[in-house]
């Protein structure tokens, strides 16, 4: 079964993938910090949407699609266009490279994020595993 992106079902499946990933659990065992991912409207998708992912000690505490960036509190914010997110989900764009080329923008304690490169890689492995259906 494929999950439509962007949707609440999709982000909940992403959370399920994270919570069943032992390597993420291991690498993120000390991580404390929630994220908001902003999928910005572009020519491929007309509406900006927001995903909340709560991460604590290697597990997802909560995951939801939101209508506004301020609906829930978070410590880390990552923004990118729909097309950039699509490339990441399809495994065509490494988000770390995306950040370095400013396809993604990050707000939060960069010093802390830089200490968890393996967690970042495992999150990408999880997102690629979500069977995803994109709007045509």
């Amino acid at each position: 079964m494929a999950f439509k992106f962007p949707s609440d079902e999709w982000v909940k499946e992403f959370a399920r993938q994270i919570n069943s990933n032992k390597a993420y659990e291991e690498s993120g065992k000390d991580w404390e910090g929630d994220w908001i991912f902003t999928v910005e409207a572009d020519e491929a998708y007309p509406k900006t949407v927001y995903f909340f992912i709560g991460l604590y000690h290697g597990k997802v505490t909560d995951a939801a699609m939101m209508e506004s960036e301020n609906a829930l509190e978070a410590q880390y914010f990552m923004r990118g266009s729909f097309t950039t997110w699509r490339k990441t989900i399809e495994g065509k764009l490494d988000p770390i490279q995306g950040l370095m080329t400013r396809k993604f923008k990050l707000k939060g304690n960069l010093m802390k994020v830089l200490r968890y490169p393996r967690s970042a890689k495992e999150l990408v492995n999880c997102v690629v595993r979500v069977p995803t259906e994109f709007p045509s």
């Binding site: 032992k22 490494d94 490279q97 080329t101 490169p117």
Partner: protein
């Protein structure tokens, strides 16, 4: 979309002469006391003076530069107000010069937060020249900065594309006084850069050629440069190899041997090149079952005919161990002289630091905690990887 970033590179015999026509008022040379003692600082100062530049020297950089060292250097820079910062030496002074430059221009930034995201806004007060005196780190042409956190005893991979040097001066004469052991350690560092730059997941068409050629140069010229330091052809080709490899991996990435080497270096102060070269064959053997092709290509380009596949990658790992032995470098941790008990006491930290090193993200096969533990244990004993 990706970038290829490089300084202007002035290379070959007499390259230092480019300093004679530099435009500026004040320069701060960031270096170490060895460079002062062997006269290389004086040599650079003489060229800068020809250009009418007032020169100040900060020579407090030690191997594995720390946050404290670069803060101290930044304070000196604030007093001197240079419009050129000159990193002179091996990887440590050059990396320190990059960090000092950033802190000089952006005193609001925490050294540990120098990351590749956002804007730094450099070059409002000064520009950077790098002059390597070893042939291996490639630091002269990369924006990477490695600083040591003395509290947590770990190396931090930092840097921002903006902190790339404006001019890299790759003059073989500057490396001609290296003793054989340093020549071997740093030359192997260049080999690891080239191999990892070619085989990591971030390699590109623009970096592949540089890495391939650097591997070939190292296999051909490093034994000569180690056995006869006055062999200036070998010195020059190794100096060029290091810069090629630096451009190659600096615009791609390094990988797992660097992650493990940083971890070992942070805990036991093993010279960087020696540590990463020691781990390289083990990581190749670990990668071989999953992604052997590019190692086989590298081996063929370096002159080792092969039939491809896993066997070719494993054979390439043997050739690297052979090169290490030929130039007197260790191929196991035990040979370095680290006691087993001390090593095992640090094992969990070694594994944790390696897995959380920035270079690990580009590994073609990501090891689990237990696999990384086994990699460290096999490397201690010198056992080829069989899992």
């Amino acid at each position: 979309m990706w970038n290829f970033i490089s300084p202007r590179i002035v290379f070959g015999e007499g390259a230092l002469d480019v300093l004679d026509e530099l435009v500026g008022n004040r320069a701060l040379i960031v270096t170490d006391t060895t460079m002062v003692r062997i006269g290389l600082v004086e040599k650079v100062k003489a060229h800068l003076k020809k250009a009418g530049i007032d020169v100040h020297v900060f020579d407090k950089i030690e191997p594995d530069p720390t946050v404290q060292m670069v803060r101290q250097g930044a304070e000196v820079a604030q007093e001197v107000q240079p419009d050129w910062i000159v990193g002179l030496g091996g990887g440590s002074p050059i990396d320190a010069a990059k960090a000092i430059w950033i802190l000089y221009e952006r005193p609001d930034i925490e050294p540990a937060a120098i990351g590749p995201v956002g804007e730094l806004g450099l070059r409002k007060k000064a520009r950077l020249i790098t002059i390597p005196t070893t042939s291996g780190t490639g630091a002269e042409v990369t924006w990477a900065i490695v600083l040591t956190d003395t509290v947590e005893k770990r190396k931090m991979g930092l840097g921002h594309p903006e902190n790339i040097a404006d001019i890299a001066i790759v003059d073989p004469e500057m490396a001609s006084s290296m003793p054989p052991r340093l020549t071997a350690d740093t030359g192997l560092d260049a080999l690891v850069h080239a191999v990892e730059g070619y085989t990591c997941t971030w390699h590109t068409d623009l970096t592949d050629g540089l890495c391939l050629h650097a591997v070939r140069l190292v296999f051909k010229y490093l034994p000569r440069a180690v056995s006869d330091g006055q062999d200036m052809e070998a010195r020059e080709r190794m100096h060029n190899a290091a810069t090629c490899a630096g451009l190659g991996f600096g615009n791609a990435m390094a990988s797992m041997a660097h992650a493990m080497g940083h971890s070992l270096g942070g805990a036991f102060h093993v010279p960087h090149g020696r540590a990463v070269a020691l781990f390289l064959p083990y990581t190749i053997e670990f990668f071989a079952p999953r992604a052997p092709e590019r190692f086989a290509e590298l081996a063929a380009f370096a002159g080792f005919a092969n039939a491809g596949g896993k066997e070719a990658a494993v054979e390439f790992a043997h050739h690297i161990r052979g090169l290490c032995r030929k130039i007197g470098n260790p191929t196991s941790i035990a040979e370095i002289g680290i006691e087993r008990k001390a090593y095992e006491n640090q094992l969990d930290k070694l594994v944790d630091d390696a897995l959380n090193d920035t270079q690990m993200v580009t590994a073609v096969r990501t090891p689990s905690f237990e696999e990384t533990r086994q990699l460290f244990l096999y490397a201690y004993d010198g056992r080829p990887i069989d899992f």
